[in-house]
Symmetry: C2
Subunit: 218 residues, 2 copies
């Protein structure tokens, strides 16, 4: 059975943007402010560093069991660290293979940034993917390789296809509290810098939460 | 049960040095020339690329079942690609954790480049590690972060400790056919550029094999 997942306000961590604060401290504050899911992402960390980082974030989430913990890309790290799931992009291991390694009791998130990628996602066997990260909504400096933005309408259109197939969706890319209200038709929003670079991550999360009533359409 | 391992002439692949030839073609030629074990290493590849590369190398080894296939660092890729084992460095996932993920039926190699790293290796539970990569023997441009060389005597001393504990050893770092004869006290030698950058990888492997009578002490 899959762990519970509430993707409403989904934080993707960024070690650089968090400095000089520890990622785990940002996560703790963000969850206090209303973050409902966390993905540990650090493309420059060695696997050992990513493992240590994931364990630290897991510890930070110990008091809030409903908050799902994902690891970006590294299936081995996710398994070892006892994370709830893995999030993969289009350049990572293929989704069906990752699901085979994960087994049925973990969550799998997949990025889709175009109609073709969404079609490929929807063609996967049922139960492979749980949540689709759709974006970028707007182009973003934290992921310069992610292409130009789909815009809120583009995200809503792709999200509609995924939701019709029973998948959950989150919008990602350039979302902050001001822009969150213009996102709609998704189960949640992902943020990176809007929380990791905020002087007060708890307050930033709270502000994003209050913008969610508009963004997240049940 | 562990797969068979003959570490006598152990090739570590390098995608850049192999160009414009495919790594799998280098491997095929190298095995024809006498390579006995292969490690797929590509620190710049995405996990999906590393997976494809490993599958291609595995295919190249299909006709020679005694040649063990290792994947550098990526435990998930090794498991998915059906490799015989994983090789990890000191910055990768901790050996005991990797062994837990691999189970008892795969090989685990670990790099050790100092007395302290060898002591840590020997302190691991029995059955964690199968083979220790000791080096660099000489400093090498293919691994600029590996420090200055231990020299053949330094390698032989560390190898003696590992072999006394029942582990197998390979020397790595700057070894070519000319230098191979000055390496001793190990179960095998690892090469990268001596084969991957050679105009004729099969001939290069053959030349290294003939130097092994001196290098490899049973």
């Amino acid at each position: 059975m899959r762990p519970a997942l509430d993707p409403a306000l989904y934080l993707v961590t960024d070690t650089e943007l968090s400095r000089p604060r520890a990622v785990a401290d940002i996560v703790r504050a963000a969850v206090a402010g209303g973050v409902t899911a966390v993905q540990v992402r650090d493309k420059t960390a060695s696997r050992r560093e990513l493992y240590a980082l994931t364990l630290a974030v897991r510890e930070a989430l110990a008091a809030t069991p409903g908050v799902a913990l994902f690891v970006n890309d590294a299936v081995d790290v996710a398994l070892l660290a006892g994370a709830d799931g893995v999030h993969i992009g289009q350049d990572d291991l293929p989704p069906a293979e990752v699901r085979a390694l994960l087994g049925p009791d973990r969550l799998l998130g997949l990025s889709a940034g175009s109609a073709a990628e969404m079609a490929a996602t929807l063609a996967l066997p049922a139960g492979t993917v749980d949540v689709v990260g759709i974006g970028p909504v707007w182009s973003t400096p934290t992921k310069p390789d992610a292409g130009t933005g789909l815009g809120p309408e583009g995200v809503a259109a792709l999200s509609g296809q995924a939701r019709a197939a029973g998948l959950r969706t989150v919008a990602i890319g350039g979302i902050d509290a001001a822009r969150a209200a213009s996102v709609s038709g998704v189960d949640g929003i992902c943020v990176v810098s809007a929380i990791c670079a905020a002087p007060d991550p708890e307050a930033a999360a709270r502000e994003l939460r209050s913008a969610l009533a508009t963004a997240v359409t049940p």
